[in-house]
């Protein structure tokens, strides 16, 4: 692995990390890793870098491996750069029975990318969602930048993407 230089953490990110550390007994700052990674990823356009993870390890006084193993285990963390707007379409059983395959196909065609990819202009990241997103009674549904959008139709999906494209 390339030798990297720790980056400075912004005041805002540090505040968020400290908030997580304060929730746990002294010496248990390892519990704050997930919360800290959420904060770091949000401040870094939706993904993590080795430099950022190393900085967090130093800040929490933990081995780097503790951070890497978390970032690669949990599906909400991205270790490669992704598009700005994250779209996760639920395709688990209830959504599948309610036509999520068509939603996936439509979005793939419209953005000209496959699940797991980002658009070339960096505007969209189409996350490959394996889990059920727990909104089964509003199927089919998707998350756009973690907002739940339920009872999807092709028209509704187009409206949302139109809006995101304008921003």
């Amino acid at each position: 692995m390339k030798k990297t230089k720790p980056q400075e953490l912004s005041e805002e990110v540090r505040k968020e990390i400290n908030k997580w550390v304060a929730k746990f007994p002294e010496g248990k700052q390892r519990s704050a890793i997930i919360g800290s990674l959420h904060a770091l990823q949000k401040a870094n356009n939706g993904s993590l870098t080795t430099e950022l993870m190393d900085t967090l390890a130093d800040y929490l006084c933990l081995p780097k491996m503790y951070i890497y193993e978390m970032a690669t285990f949990y599906s909400m963390f991205q270790t490669k750069a992704v598009g700005k707007n994250e779209i996760s379409i639920c395709t688990n059983i209830s959504c599948m029975l309610s036509g999520s395959d068509k939603i996936v196909q439509h979005i793939e065609n419209r953005l000209n990318i496959k699940l797991g990819e980002s658009t070339k202009d960096g505007k969209f990241f189409l996350k490959k969602e394996e889990e059920c997103l727990a909104a089964c009674t509003g199927a089919p549904m998707m998350m756009v930048n973690h907002q739940y959008i339920e009872n999807l139709t092709i028209e509704k999906v187009d409206e949302i993407i139109d809006q995101l494209e304008r921003n």
Binding site: M70, F73, I93, S94, L97, S98, C132, A135, C136, G138
Partner: protein, 428 residues
């Protein structure tokens, strides 16, 4: 008349039901305050645990273990103990804890405080699934902040000498963290790989200290049960499955929704509440308790009542109360492939039978749907499922095997047809 919204959903129709004022104006926190004002000690603790035992409340996270009994496993003594809430809702088909977190978060806060006191646990953590970061998490965070501001949580609460601190935790996307020891690992800042048991969490839990993990709905039911008494609770439901449960009814129904109803209502009544099968179609099958429970054919589920015993007798389980309705015309091979893909992707990977077996099952199903399956693949599927079942550290392995076994048992002809007809579906 069937009573609805009696427990966790009692205030959800009120405007801003998530605010502390709304909760308190409906009698919220009176139970907790009454406990605190009655010179609370070890006798009070025993009484609360007895009340929960008498109510017959069973864990709503899927396993259905008696809650009062689980609480009684916690050791006496002064060491640091923890109460942990499992709000990592992610069993496919299940979406009612999300409603509690969003619409009645104070019932959970009060339930955790009471549970914490009953087990002499002075600290609590509520593990919320990561995907709820924008929707539920701010609500339950605000609820805890409000409770502190009202002096209902913290040190020496209302001068009672009782301490209880409560914090929310946020996950980051891993189904396995819904398994209680995987959840504890995750809470400790590690990969969510379930622990070998024994020791159980009551002896060796969070940071190695005595811990009880209960589900969101279970804990949110506590204040009402104590307020109205165990007799009131057991007056609903059946003798062995007393009380209420929230059914998440989804799939091929006209009006999908979360319905808080007494246990043991007939399946047909529940289906009716959800508006019946879509487009006037015939019912084909039902997954009665989340994707990990065995699928039941229409004629079997139609004779069932929705409780632990009836569904177990029918060869399945109540699980999380996530009822996925499947209409005539659905290809069961494709549906099973999606379920198997889920377990393959979510296996934590520490036990070989599960790590390898879930991949095998998914890949076999994929080649069958692509028209490259053979008759031998059907017995191979059952063989692999049988080698996962019962051979792993946690119940995830079983949960990945049961759908394969039950789909093949009930719809063998669809799998056989597809294998013999180059991937063509019998149902479509």
């Amino acid at each position: 008349m069937i009573e609805k919204n009696a427990v966790c959903f009692s205030i959800i129709d009120q405007p801003e039901s998530w605010k502390i004022q709304t909760y308190m104006s409906s009698g919220g926190y009176l139970t907790w305050k009454k406990i605190l004002q009655g010179q609370p000690g070890n006798e009070t603790r025993k009484e609360i645990i007895e009340t929960i035992k008498k109510s017959g409340l069973r864990g709503r996270g899927g396993a259905g273990f008696p809650t009062g009994l689980k609480w009684s496993f916690m050791p006496e003594g002064d060491e640091q103990k923890y109460i942990v809430c499992n709000s990592d809702e992610s069993e496919p088909g299940t979406c009612h804890d999300r409603e509690i977190l969003k619409l009645n978060p104070h019932a959970l806060v009060e339930g955790m405080a009471i549970a914490g006191f009953a087990m002499n646990a002075t600290m609590g953590y509520n593990y919320v699934r990561g995907e709820f970061i924008k929707e539920c998490f701010p609500r339950i965070e605000a609820a805890i902040t409000e409770a502190y501001a009202h002096g209902i949580l913290g040190e020496n609460i209302l001068d009672s000498g009782v301490n209880f601190d409560l914090y929310n935790f946020l996950g980051a996307g891993a189904y396995i963290c819904g398994e209680e020891t995987g959840l504890l690992e995750s809470l400790e800042g590690k990969q969510g790989k379930p622990r070998f048991k024994p020791p159980f969490p009551a002896n060796y839990g969070l940071y190695g200290q005595p811990t009880t993990v209960n589900n969101t709905q279970t804990l949110a039911s506590i204040p009402k049960i104590i307020e109205k008494g165990p007799e009131w609770y057991t007056s609903m439901g059946s003798e062995k499955s007393p009380g209420t449960i929230i059914f998440s009814v989804s799939g091929h129904v006209n009006k999908p929704g979360n319905f808080e109803l007494p246990l043991a209502i007939p399946f047909d009544v529940l289906l009716d509440k959800a508006g019946g099968v879509i487009d006037g179609k015939k019912l084909k099958a039902v997954i009665p308790g989340g994707s990990s429970t065995k699928i039941l054919k229409a004629d079997v589920i139609s004779k069932c009542t929705m409780d632990y015993e009836s569904l177990q007798d029918a060869g399945s389980a109540l699980g999380t109360g996530a009822v996925v309705v499947i209409a005539e015309g659905t290809c069961m091979v494709n549906l099973l492939k999606r379920i198997s893909q889920f377990y393959y992707s979510e296996s934590c990977g520490q036990c070989s039978p599960c790590r390898e077996g879930t991949g095998w099952m998914y890949k076999i199903l994929e080649r069958i749907t692509q028209g490259q399956g053979t008759q031998n693949d059907l017995s191979l599927l059952l063989d692999v499922a049988g080698k996962i079942e019962g051979t792993t550290i946690c119940a995830f392995g079983d949960a990945s095997a049961w759908p394969v076994q039950s789909f093949l048992e009930n719809f063998y002809e669809e799998f056989e047809y597809m294998v013999k007809n180059d991937g063509k579906s019998l149902a479509a």
